[in-house]
Symmetry: D2
Subunit: 145 residues, 4 copies
């Protein structure tokens, strides 16, 4: 296994800022590995909501996580402010693969990098849907395909 | 039990902004009650760190929570931005009682109000210390005594 | 403020066991105060589900937390096994007040004690309902009224 | 990307039971993806503590997560009881790769499967250590190498 290298900030297309919380730190005084996955969920859902891809409409699809991963380069801790960068590296029939970079304070090299695959399902039956052209269009804004 | 009334924003002396996270919502689609206590922890510790009351110095005291409470007036949810207001309503020999107001987006009436009592202990032995005059001085900035 | 005393295990009527998780510990190496509120939520909901008070039926009520509090007597940490004791100390028109004791491993004196008030609402409109006689009957099993 | 298949319970060497908590569920009514990583942390640390690999001794190593991943086959939810299975698939100079299976209630096919890489560091300087023969011996119990 070759350790992936830390990505630069400028490859990402969409950002949110997250302030760490006191409770994000674990016994070792840095943010617990599981918490990074909360940050990833949040950046993806922020994008989906801002662009009206998922909304309160009964027919809007919802994203279920089918796999995720994270590589940790440098610890982050409370109190840090994080810039969470997002881009899309694959759009399938019903799934989207997101690449997430986690940047500490003003740093331009990621402290962690995650991958996150959503399959989109219909809200009621929770069966995979085909990603519509309209949705694809909105996703393309942050795609690097 | 008389339900406490929702406090106004202008009684608080110190604020931080917290963006809710996707995972803060529980099955009912709003922020879970336990999460509000994470917000309270965070506002208090932010104040303590910014004012160098707790720091990495071996002799700086640390705060242990001895009791807390929260009253919920209106749900908040992801995605909301919260203003968390803080003030001090009691300074004892080794303990401080904080009053916390949780304000949704631009609202001036609290969605929730918490109380939070820290007892300060020394880092090594974890025994209560007497709050020093220097520390008291720093706490007085946000005190309403 | 008089600190409440640590309750004995034998006053509680219903118990669940919870194993702490690695991530429950915060920087100070013990379970973070907010996490205790997760334990409280869990014991109450376990009771409600086991006794079919809340279920997947569209007409079953759901409980919204309107206030909670916790007093911490002794730290608990990962890895500990906790016995969480529950009893009801008040049943109102649409609300129930729970008393929760948190007991470490085999201890009979609580490490923490919480209070937790649920108001029951209907699933759809989320307006308070009147607690039915049937529901009251099920709650009386763990009531000390 | 070929989706990995769901592993059987009998390939794992060490198990703990975890009861889901009310708050593990997210808005979609099932356990949030980030929480599975808390379960993984917990099973690994339980093994390390039970076998005295990490302990309160100043010279015992601690494990930092350098990467993790999870594939989700079937949702789990509150209230479910999970069996978390653990085995080791690689022991390096200072790192260990764990394979974790998450099994719902009495099921023998995993609902999720995770991978988790720890690098062991010394407690004080937080620099990678060489895994000792004694530690390797203890890890071999659950290794499939």
């Amino acid at each position: 296994m070759k350790k992936p290298s830390s990505p630069k900030k400028n490859i990402y297309k969409y950002f949110i800022r997250i302030k760490t919380r006191w409770n994000d730190n674990d016994s070792y005084g840095h943010v617990n590995n599981a918490i990074y996955h909360e940050y990833m969920d949040t950046v993806v859902n922020n994008y989906l909501i801002e662009h009206q891809i998922t909304n309160s409409d009964e027919n809007s699809p919802i994203g279920f996580v089918v796999s995720n991963s994270c590589t940790y380069f440098q610890p982050v801790k409370y109190p840090d402010t994080l810039n969470i960068g997002l881009r899309i590296i694959k759009i399938g029939t019903s799934s989207v693969t997101y690449d997430v970079g986690i940047f500490k304070n003003n740093e331009t090299e990621a402290s962690a990098r995650g991958s996150f695959v959503h399959v989109y399902v219909d809200k009621k039956m929770r069966k995979p849907i085909c990603i519509s052209d309209k949705m694809k269009h909105k996703l393309n804004n942050i795609s690097t395909l």
